[in-house]
């Protein structure tokens, strides 16, 4: 697991943690059943408050990304494939929305954007 916390970011620290862990789970960088560090260990490693890491884990648990097994620790939850895909689609959508908004600001037409997208899509292959 990789986590980088910025002190100058506008996002609260717990949100930075949840975002990063979430995207790592979605991208399969963290696989099902993989153990996560304890909240106290994480707080120490990131040099942040225990309450912050606790809150981040609680959010992730609520969203179903991780499971806390009493006495054993915290693990990446078994993901519902449908849900996961939906969530992944969501992130793609979010990123595209950002791109569309930027394009609109620059006055790029839909046609132009589409051809841009298809070039990029093929390049990646």
């Amino acid at each position: 697991m990789k986590l980088l916390i910025s002190n100058s970011s506008q996002d609260p620290i717990y949100e930075q943690i949840t975002k990063q862990i979430r995207s790592q789970i979605i991208a399969d960088e963290l696989s099902e059943g993989e153990p996560l560090p304890s909240i106290r260990k994480l707080a120490k490693d990131l040099q942040i408050s225990v309450i912050t890491t606790k809150r981040a884990y609680e959010e992730l648990e609520k969203e179903g990304f991780i499971d806390t097994v009493g006495g054993k620790g915290t693990f990446v939850a078994m993901q519902n494939k449908e849900l996961l895909k939906e969530k992944k689609m969501q992130t793609v959508e979010e990123k595209l929305t950002g791109a569309v908004n930027d394009a609109k600001k620059l006055g790029i037409k839909l046609g132009e954007l589409k051809s841009m997208l298809s070039i990029l899509y093929n390049e990646e292959e």
């Binding site: 620290i13 260990k41 120490k44 040099q47 942040i48 408050s49 225990v50 309450i51 912050t52 809150r55």
Partner: protein, 288 residues
């Protein structure tokens, strides 16, 4: 929830200073930072907890027990570091260990030796010849060597270089890996606390300004900057203290949401750090 410390309506009168009905609580397993300017009452609170001075009213519970009735068993489980630990001056560290160790049932020479090695402290040198940082390290080593469950530190970082302050914070994190350990830490160097503290209690002029989790405090407070024409009798109520000059106003709010609703995009909203809060709240109290 178990509490390491519960302070309730605590008052203490001095000539020219009064600790006024102070209440706050620290749950077991967390770090609380006690902040405030010099002379705010931080040391008085710590002395009251340690029973060095007598309260006029109110109650103090440590580990859920009254701190006077159960004084000995409580102190057995407390590790303390005071602002000016010059009490050791004419002795060397080994003598100090020989003096202090027998007082604690759970004293552990191995822990002490490890800390002394980690801090690179000489055992046979008079503490008179130690630098302030070294004296502080020695006091910390003594405080942490009897497996205390509650560490109380009064200004442990004042006068210390940033390198050692980092080292101390690391040490505190190590301690907190055990969820039964709690730490109360008074300081006026708030940047230390912005990293580690779980709870912040801000005291000024003998009164509690706020006591809450650091995250909530950081989320609810913000620095607001804008045109000074926005300030009138009605809008003043949104702020905890402000500074107005020709360029505009700068103010602290403890309720970012309401400010956002009220002022929208007409103001700049910046993160406020603890130092900003101390500054503006102090200004507000001066004006009241």
């Amino acid at each position: 929830m178990n509490y390491a410390l519960e302070v309730n309506e605590l008052s203490k009168n001095y000539e020219g200073f009064r600790l006024d009905k102070v209440s706050f609580a620290l749950p077991e397993g967390f770090i609380m930072g006690l902040i405030g300017p010099n002379g705010a009452g931080k040391t008085t609170i710590i002395k009251l907890i340690m029973n060095l001075v007598m309260k006029n009213s109110g109650s103090i519970k440590v580990f859920g027990k009254d701190n006077r009735e159960h004084e000995i068993e409580i102190k057995e489980r407390i590790g303390f570091v005071y602002d000016n630990p010059n009490y050791y001056e004419h002795l060397n560290l080994q003598q100090i260990r020989n003096i202090i160790a027998p007082f604690y049932k759970r004293w552990d020479n191995k822990v002490f030796d490890d800390l002394v090695t980690r801090f690179e402290l000489p055992l046979k040198k008079n503490l008179k010849k130690f630098s302030r940082g070294m004296v502080m390290k020695a006091a910390i080593a003594v405080a942490l060597s009897h497996h205390a469950d509650f560490i109380i530190m009064d200004e442990p970082t004042s006068g210390l270089d940033p390198l050692f302050r980092r080292e101390l914070l690391d040490l505190l994190f190590d301690l907190l890996q055990n969820e039964k350990k709690s730490i109360l830490f008074s300081t006026h160097i708030t940047s230390d606390l912005e990293r580690v503290a779980d709870y912040i209690t801000f005291i000024n002029k003998g009164k509690i300004v706020f006591s809450n989790t650091k995250d909530e405090i950081m989320e609810n407070h913000a620095l607001i900057k804008g045109d000074k024409n926005l300030i009138n009798i009605e809008t003043k109520g949104y702020f905890e203290g402000m500074r107005i000059n020709e360029m505009g106003f700068e103010a602290l709010t403890s309720d970012v949401k309401s400010v956002k609703k009220k002022f929208g995009n007409s103001v700049i909203i910046d993160k406020a750090n603890l130092e900003d809060m101390m500054y503006f709240y102090n200004q507000k109290q001066n004006n009241d």
